[in-house]
């Protein structure tokens, strides 16, 4: 049967991985290529790279890194960050990305998902959404969670999938960084309205949190950054832990 997926996320700025890292046995702990190698060897099912740079020069550096990773690591690679146009899709796909994740770019230009899906196929387009409770309502935030768009998260997810998003990354701002578990209430509320794979993000602190997440058939993947980078949770051990609990894992 198809497995649940464990996905580490690497935020990259100035050609370096941002966020606390505590790797042993790796020459350069913040080198994205070294880290990608490490995660590949640890059994990560996919890798997500977020480009959190702004300038043209840094963007070029990012695509160079992407090319290097894609030349030696043969698992699915998703790229996000600063994707505003179909040309941005083209740029990263040519450097070896398999999927492209859109967030604020799709909020600014709602046709972006449709245009990209028509050109590259639904499987290539990932809608990433940062969601927070506002007056008890799940609301979409833009610009890395800084700007309240007023959009209803369930309606936005449904619209994105109708337009051709082939996967959803749902990041709960409410649980992000808290490490007290995924936002199961929010994830399930949104998942109930769409039929594409759901990648849960925000709140994982322990292996048990992933086991809780995967109790729900509609949850396909768990994404995290910090706990993997600091090795508080090691992917190989995590996947064995989950498999021992009857959850299908590639180990």
């Amino acid at each position: 049967m198809i497995t649940k997926r464990i996905i580490p996320c690497l935020d990259i700025r100035d050609g370096r991985v941002v966020k606390g890292t505590n790797f042993e046995g790796i020459r350069d702990v913040a080198d994205p290529v070294e880290m990608a190698r490490f995660y590949n060897e640890s059994g990560a099912d996919e890798l997500v790279f977020y480009d959190i740079t702004a300038s043209f020069e840094q963007r070029k550096l990012f695509t160079e890194i992407l090319k290097k990773v894609a030349s030696e690591i043969f698992i699915p690679l998703t790229v996000g960050g600063g994707i505003q146009t179909v040309e941005d899709f083209d740029r990263v796909l040519k450097c070896g990305a398999d999927k492209v994740s859109v967030n604020s770019g799709a909020i600014k230009n709602p046709d972006l998902i449709r245009e990209a899906a028509q050109k590259y196929g639904d499987q290539c387009v990932v809608l990433s959404m940062d969601v927070k409770r506002v007056d008890g309502k799940f609301t979409v935030f833009a610009k890395g969670g800084r700007e309240n768009t007023g959009l209803d998260a369930i309606e936005w997810a449904v619209k994105g999938v109708q337009n051709g998003a082939g996967e959803l990354v749902i990041n709960s701002i409410d649980t992000d960084g808290v490490r007290n578990g995924f936002d199961l209430e929010m994830l399930n509320a949104i998942a109930a309205h769409v039929d594409v794979p759901i990648i849960a993000s925000g709140g994982a602190g322990t292996m048990e949190h992933f086991a809780e997440l995967f109790q729900y058939p509609s949850m396909d993947a768990g994404l995290a950054a910090g706990i993997f980078h600091t090795k508080e949770v090691e992917i190989r051990a995590l996947k064995q832990f989950l498999r021992d609990r009857g959850i299908e894992m590639r180990v």
Partner: protein, 204 residues
Amino acid sequence: MTAVIDYGVGNLFSLCSSLAFLGVEAVVTNRVEDLQKADRIILPGVGAFGDAIAKLNETGLVEPLREEVKKGKPLLGICLGMQLLFEQSKEYGTHQGLGFLKGVVSPLADDITTGLKVPEMGWNSLQFQKKEHPLVKYIKEGDYVYYVHSFYAKDCADSLVAYSEYEVQVPGIVGNGMVMGTQFHPEKSGAVGLAILKAFCELK
């Protein structure tokens, strides 16, 4: 030399990178001479069947490809490229395939009743139907490979080498003689995928 057929369908970056990683000399081409000169041919593909077969026909490579296959040159179809090897597809209408393998490509959604998601996207394990096949030389039963697809081959018992369970049995590896294919993406299936590509690239 391995010829990778370029007919404007899909992204060849990962496939070419994985061949380079294996030290395989590969040429991405739409030229007849390259198909003739090649030791083996790979037919990649992502997208819709009808569009892909039309584009492949436009290249004028179909007849030369048939000639090479007739001579026994190894051919590997990947993902949509594998589906094109079959007789027919029912993806948005009915389309004729290359007919190298017996079978019909059908929508997964028609046969999924338990709420599994379509497309099937992710890692699934291989169950062997045939233990002896060139593509499974370096892998073992239960190994995981990466799928992204909404359609699958049916009525292809003759050529079934390995399948994955997704409520239905999804043919993962098919083959008849030197014509073979994978529904999953070997170039995205980590070490297992590389081992499959390596095995293919040893064939002459």
